[in-house]
Every structure is written in C-alpha cells, then in structure tokens.
C-alpha cells in the first residue's frame, strides 16, 4: 500500500540582521560598491519582527491563514497588516532572530558559535519557553563570553559576526585555518540551515503526533553543502539535524537537486516507506541565508520594505499506511528526463500530462496544482512576475491544447485548480512543498480529493549542465478500505474463520 502523509511543519525565522550581513545581494554590493546608497538604505527598510508576523503570506505559511483566504486579501500585501496575527500557527512558528541565535548555538557541535554573555542571559528564558524547544536543547546553550572575545574573532580571525538590532552579539568562527569549505562564511551558512531544519523537525514530530523515537530515516533537501576540502559536499545535514532534534533511532542522508530537491526527497521517502525499508521517514529542510534580501534592490527602489527577511523551513512526516491519512501515489509520478527538452510545452507535458495519461486521467481531474509557490508580493516588484500564475497558465494551456478544457475556461482554471503564492523566495522552500500541509488537511476534510505537487530545479546554475529538472507526485485520499474490499477476504480473516470452525468442531466432539 502507498505510504501516507502523517503531518507537516512550516517554520520561518525572522533574520533582518542576516539580510544585511549574509544575503548575497548585500554582500556582493559591499564588495563592488561599498559606499552605495542601497547599503545605507537597507537598515531603514528592514521590517520589525511584529511587521513580519503580521504579514499575510507569513501567516499563511505557518498555517494561520488558508491560501484561499490569502487570495481574497487585496493585493499588494506588504502594506497591509493582519489583525491579531500570532507568532505560532498550526504548522509552526515565526521565530525571532534573538531566540534563533540560541538555537544555532544549541545546533553547533564544534564550538564555533560564540554568543555574548548578556545577550544569552537576556533571551534564554524566552527561548526555553518555546513549546517545541526541549530542556536538552536549552542545556546546550553556553553561558556566553565577553564581547571583547567576539570582537577579537571577528576583527582578527575572520569570524562571521552575529548581529541583533545592528549590534554585534556573537560570531561563527572558522572551523579550519586554511580549508575554504570550513571557513566562517560556510560554517555560518550551514549552521543556519541546520538550526532551521531542527526547528522544522521538532514541529513536524509534534504535528504528526508521533514519538521522536519513531523516526527511522531523515532526508535533508536543502541547497547547502557541508564537507571539507577533500569532500566538499560530503553531508550529512539530515543526521546532524536529527541528532539535535533528538531523533535517536534515525539515520539519514541528503538529497540535492536545487529547488526540485524537496519533491525528489518526498518521492524517495514515500518509496522507502512503501518498500518496507523504513516505517517512518521525515523529509526536512532549513533555510538559506544567501537568498535573504535577494530582490532587495528592486524592493527598495520601489519604496517597499525588504520582504525577504525570513529563513524558511519545512518538514514532512511520511509513514506506513494508517488507513486515514492522504497517500502519496507512486503510480502517478512525473519526471523531466534528459531527453524531454526545454520547450515549456514539453516541460509541463512531462511533469503534469504524462503521469496523468498513464493513469487515464485528464488535467482537470486534479483538484489543485502546487508548482512554484513563490509569494508574488516579492517577485512582481522585482520583475519576475507572478510565478505560480505563470505555471498555472502553462498547465491550463496544455489542457486546452489536449482538448480537456475549453479555451474560455482558461482564466477560471488558474483559480479553480491553482493557488495564490505565499512562500518566501528561499529557493527550495517554495517549490511545490508549501501546499502539502494544507492539502493533507483539505483532503481529510473532503474539500479537495487530490493535489499534484510539482518541484522544479535550475540545474544550469551549477554550470554542470544546461538542463533544467523537475519531478511531480500526486496526493489523494486514503484508499486502504477500498483496497481491502477489493482484495476480498484477508489472510488473517481466513485464519480466524478456520480457527472458529475448528473450535466449533472440537466443541461438538466434546458434546458427543
């Protein structure tokens, strides 16, 4: 039987200081144009934590707003605050930067993270009060060091500074004197990814209602690489994050494929569980510091706040069929192959139409499509348009071409079978997977019967190939009961019937 989606988590971490110090748009500007007006403007254009929490798309991401409710909010969203917005949602939370830095230290196994004493003392209690942060994680936070020690590492030892409210409050040291792969910059990037993955894992366990010990395998699908000079991408973020999250019975591995990696990883996890190799697998990912403020120049130029101020994370728990939860149907997998080509029609054909053809289904038979779910509030001012809508138009156009949809219904198709984007532009984070949590709930509630998750990856960015990549899968309601009914009498039921007959026969013999 197909494996099921037992639960999912979606978390954000508000990291405004990292926008300035670690986002590549800003760090590149600092190298090529250190006196630029843009760099001077960045601190004024960063949102407060309260504003990031009250941002409609963020509330949608953590599960307090349904995507259909978001679609009804007048666009643009950056200038509208949601009344009564909360830090915590049913899928996760929006963690403030100061508490996250303590989680980063708790996730550091090599003592490369140093935090200032007063900073730790000021925020330790708030960190410990987080509902998913257990005492063993809190205990990993050190008492802290003097600011002078941090200043020494940043000024003299190439450490990467950690800032809060524009003030230096800590640092990430290099883990090796010469090895570029263990430089302070790389260690910083990897630790932020790892710590946000830990937070996503903790919420996923809570949301799925399972014990930490139940998890047998973890797949990390972020876009970072950890290793040393002899194995640049050695890994393994998955097991490293599982350790901090306390998943004592888990091993794991990393899946990479740019933004398509989460969809690849969920398919791999579903296959591992269906095959019987593992009973419970969690797909997880943390966020990407490099992409913070990626479109900041365009946002500032147009008078918007810098909207890319949060790291994103998610995790999906996939387990054996429980007869209740929605299934990942491994008979309905789409894949862009080496030979598919790059024409948009061929791309959508391979990802959407081909798997449906194999099952005798039509494009409108899928209730909701979740391709790239980037928040258009971020992408439109930057000139990248409404990415989800562009994808829906392509899918709808293919349906028209195949005679499965009337041309007049094309506009309606994009809203009926589509969703308004709400995910932060963190590369892999918005790629298909943001909808899994919502889809699971909507299928359980009977609002929709199925959904297709589509992940796309820009492989050409790695300069190893000109190819693009993409995979897709379909989630639908649980079919265990139907399958059981179709299968007729089970082996256990036959055994029970024989036992009952033998018992009755024995009783009749005794009676005689």
């Amino acid at each position: 039987m197909n494996s099921v989606i037992k639960g999912a988590s979606y978390i954000l971490v508000h990291t405004p200081d990292m926008v300035l110090y670690n986002g590549t748009t800003q760090t590149t500007e600092r190298i090529v144009n250190p006196e630029s007006e843009y760099l001077k403007e960045v601190p004024e254009k960063l949102r407060s934590y309260e504003d990031a929490v009250a941002y409609w798309p963020n509330q949608t991401y953590i599960g307090n707003v349904h995507p259909e409710e978001l679609a009804k909010v007048e666009f643009p969203w950056y200038d509208k605050k949601m009344e009564g917005a909360q830090r915590y949602g049913k899928f996760g939370e929006i963690m403030p930067e100061e508490e996250f830095l303590l989680l980063v230290q708790a996730s550091d196994m090599f003592e490369v993270v140093r935090l200032e004493k007063g900073f730790v003392a000021a925020h330790r209690d708030a960190f410990a009060a987080d509902p998913v942060i257990s005492s063993d994680i809190v205990e990993r936070v050190h008492e802290g060091v003097e600011l002078s020690e941090i200043e020494h590492f940043v000024n003299d030892e190439h450490a990467e500074g950690l800032y809060f409210d524009g003030q230096l409050v800590g640092c990430v040291k290099a883990a090796h004197d010469i090895d570029q792969n263990l430089s302070a910059h790389v260690m910083h990037e990897n630790l932020m990814s790892k710590a946000s993955s830990v937070l996503a894992l903790l919420y996923a366990i809570r949301n799925a209602g399972i014990d930490k010990a139940d998890v047998e395998y973890v797949i990390d699908c972020a876009e970072e690489a950890c290793g040393d000079m002899n194995q640049r991408g050695g890994g393994n973020f998955a097991k490293a994050a599982a350790e901090v999250a306390g998943l004592v019975n888990a091993t794991g591995s990393d899946a990479r494929g740019f933004c398509a990696a989460p969809t690849h990883a969920v398919i791999e996890a579903a296959a591992l569980v269906k095959s019987g190799a593992y009973k419970t697998v969690v797909v997880t990912s943390g966020g990407c510091t490099a992409k913070l403020g990626m479109n900041g120049k365009d946002h500032v130029k147009k008078g918007l706040p810098i909207l890319e101020d949060c790291l994103g994370g998610f995790a999906v728990v996939i387990s054996e069929n429980d007869g209740v939860n929605p299934e990942i149907d491994l008979d309905l997998l789409g894949r862009h192959t080496v030979g598919t080509g790059s024409a948009p029609q061929a791309v959508i054909g391979s990802l959407v139409a081909d798997p449906l053809d194999r099952a005798g289904m039509k494009i409108p038979d899928i209730d909701k499509y979740s391709p790239e779910m980037q928040n258009p509030d971020i992408t439109k001012p930057a000139g990248a348009g409404d990415v989800p809508l562009a994808n829906y138009k392509m899918i709808g156009a293919l349906a028209v071409k195949r005679g499965e949809l009337d041309r007049k219904e094309l506009a309606e198709f994009t809203t009926k079978h589509g969703l308004t984007g709400w995910a932060p532009t963190q590369g892999h984070i918005p790629s298909g997977v943001p909808y899994i949590g919502v889809a699971r709930e909507d299928i359980l509630a009977g609002t929709i019967k199925n959904a297709m998750i589509i992940g796309k990856g820009s492989l050409f960015l790695g300069r190893m190939t000109n190819l693009f990549d993409g995979v897709s899968f379909v989630i639908h309601g649980n079919t265990a009961k139907e399958q059981k009914a179709q299968a007729g009498v089970s082996e256990e039921e036959v055994k029970g019937l024989i036992a009952k007959a033998m018992k009755e026969f024995a009783a009749s013999l005794l009676a005689e």
């Binding site: 790239e372 348009g385 990415v387 050409f460 693009f468």
Partner: protein
C-alpha cells in the same frame, strides 16, 4: 522574424517562462547569430 536575420543575439531565458535553449531554437530558425544563451532563475 526577419528582424533577427544575421543579427548577433544574446538570450537570457527564464526558468518559469521560456528557457534559453527554446528561445535559441527559434532564433536559429530566424537566422540570428547566437553569441550567448543561458537560462536564469529569478526566484
């Protein structure tokens, strides 16, 4: 399409729109001389 005949063309495609290789095929048939073609990811 004659506007591209014997013209030098730089192509920047979009991952979620029209990718570079697809534009390149069109430019070739229109007689353009492709000096650079790539696909970029804007998200």
């Amino acid at each position: 399409m004659a506007i591209l005949k014997d013209k030098k063309v730089i192509i920047i495609g979009d991952r979620d729109g029209i990718p570079g290789p697809a534009i390149a095929e069109c430019v070739k048939t229109a007689g353009g001389d492709i000096v650079f073609a790539s696909t970029e990811c804007f998200v």
